[in-house]
Amino acid sequence: MDLFLQYVANGVVTGSTYVLVAVGLTLIFGILGVVNFAHGEFYMIGGYVGIVAITMLKLPVLAAIAVVLLAAALVGLVAEAILHKPLKSRDATNSIISSFGLAVALQNAALLVMGPQPQRLNLDVSKIPVLSSLPTDFGPVFLPQQRTLIPLTMVILIGVLYAVLKYTWTGRSLRAMAQHATVARLCGVRVQSVAVVTFMVGSALAGIAGMLMSSIFFVYPVVGNMIALKAFTVVILGGMGNVAGAAVAGLLLGITESLTSAYVANSMRDVVGFVFVILVLLFRPQGLFGKAAERS
């Protein structure tokens, strides 16, 4: 039982990164209708920027987080100009191919700049004020502070995002766009700036996830492939465009994977999610939590 709880806790940690990556992906899809296959690369870039900021530039952690947020948001800005602005009046396959090309280009740019060897971020938690005072033992569960930081950040960021979506003017225009783009435009929503904001927010969330995870797992140029696929799994399970659904499905996927690798086989860990997603797409294409709606 104690081990079971430990596995669940590990699942929550990985699941939290899935949530961070998937929420951005689902926003970009739900609001703009862009299927962004380059989303995993935002994560990868976040990881590398974090490593450069902390290991090479010796920045304090909070400043490094700010740098990662800024850099990832900037990448999102550029991605919007490539994937959405020129293609928005065309059918969806165009942005699929284009984002796929962007993903391949970014991976290989990273390969040339950072090299193929996996790298890791040495996050010295003892220097972070609040975090270092957190306990590492929760009953039978042991969680180093680097790991605790991930669900913590996820809850804070998703909470902020939720509040922004719910209570601010920007959030209202985002939701209006998601409901009906044309009517939103008629009501005076600035479609182009909403698109840019969506991409920047999505990219920043994925970038933070990449940075935080790089203190536990390695970062390498194609790390984003697997993460993007996991995020798509989460987005599909939660229902395309459904932020709350993505949050629940992300945690569920993380826990399922952790339990699979503990009780079934470690090699089945990555496969289980994809099998799941193909089944969901076949039998419940609106997602586990989505309402059934006709698709054109």
Binding site: L87, T93, I96, I97, G101, S267, V277, L281, L282, P285
Partner: protein
């Protein structure tokens, strides 16, 4: 008659090429032929039938591993592996085609990427059967014999190149006939308007499944040829980057134009050879080309030329 004559002329030029070129150049040409088969195969399902697949690399790998594992466990020769690779890849194509019956656009794209990843994970982790990361090595292809008489030696690079060329020509002929058959017209109808196609009595289920099978079987054939040419297979030869490359070839050349993907394959395989030291940036260039092509010229080079000619 004209396309056949041009095809024949090109095939003849390619057949005499090894006499003029060195071993390295012949190898490059052989690589080019593999990718021509892959790109034309993808064009059948994505260009003609409109079902986007990012799983070409997976079918390519399935064909290659079929050849490698059959040679290892059964000692089967290449002329048996070729149809076997096509059948195995084709069956998996059918498997992937089934979800495609219900899914469109991005959902389908995600499923094909998931399929590609599952195949990669299985071949790289099922060590007892596929050799894991080390892969499987193959002996020299045995000579083609009939009734105890040796017909063709396949051990040398040149003879293997001719075999590849012959198989490629057969594949392209088959693909051409398919694309211009009644079935090919049904694929185009499904691509252009699936509801209308179903309404005029086209069996869209059959249409989509056949397109997936044909595409996968061609990739399987290319896989068998590659496995024997490389004398072995490793999982990293069949990643999603291969799928990306083939998609780039098809999109650059022109979806659903038949000749477009062929030219795309020729261009993208020969380009790194011309680039010299810049060849390191090959995948970076492919990715950027894909973005540029879809933004500026989504119908591809051949598609653009044809539209201009039609005006």
């Amino acid at each position: 008659m004209k396309p056949y004559l041009i095809g024949l002329a090109v095939a003849l030029v390619l057949a005499v090429a090894p006499f003029v070129l060195g071993g390295y150049e012949t190898n490059v040409l052989m690589m080019m032929l593999f990718f021509v088969i892959l790109a034309v195969g993808l064009d059948l399902v994505a260009g003609y039938c409109g079902q986007f697949s990012f799983a070409t690399g997976a079918f390519y790998g399935l064909g290659a591993y079929t050849a490698a594992i059959m040679s290892r466990d059964l000692g089967s020769p290449i002329w048996l592996n070729l149809p076997a690779g096509a059948v195995v890849a084709g069956l998996f194509g059918l498997l992937l085609g089934i979800p495609a019956l219900r899914l469109k656009g991005h959902f389908l794209a995600i499923v094909t990427i998931a399929f590609q990843t599952i195949v990669y994970l299985v071949i790289s982790q099922w060590t007892s059967f596929t050799g894991g990361q080390v892969g499987v090595s193959l002996p020299n292809p045995a000579p083609l014999t009939a009734f105890g008489v040796t017909l063709v030696q396949l051990g040398s690079l040149r003879s293997y190149y001719w075999l590849t060329l012959a198989v490629a020509v057969i594949c392209l002929l088959l693909a051409w006939r398919l694309a211009h058959s009644r079935l090919g017209s049904e694929w185009i109808a499904i691509r252009d308007d699936e509801t209308l196609a179903a309404a005029v009595g086209i069996d869209t289920t059959r249409g989509k499944l056949t397109a997936f099978i044909a595409s996968a079987a061609l990739a399987g054939v290319a896989g068998v040829l590659t496995a024997h040419a490389m004398r072995g297979v490793t999982p990293d030869d069949f990643t999603i980057w291969i799928s990306a490359t083939v998609v780039a070839m098809m999109v650059l050349g022109g979806r659903g134009t038949f000749i477009g993907p062929i030219l795309g394959a020729v261009f993208l395989v020969l380009m790194p050879e011309v680039l010299g030291r810049l060849a390191e940036y090959k995948m970076l260039i492919y990715g950027s080309l894909l973005v540029l092509a879809i933004t500026l010229m989504p119908e591809g080079v051949i598609g653009r030329l044809r539209r201009r000619a039609a005006r």
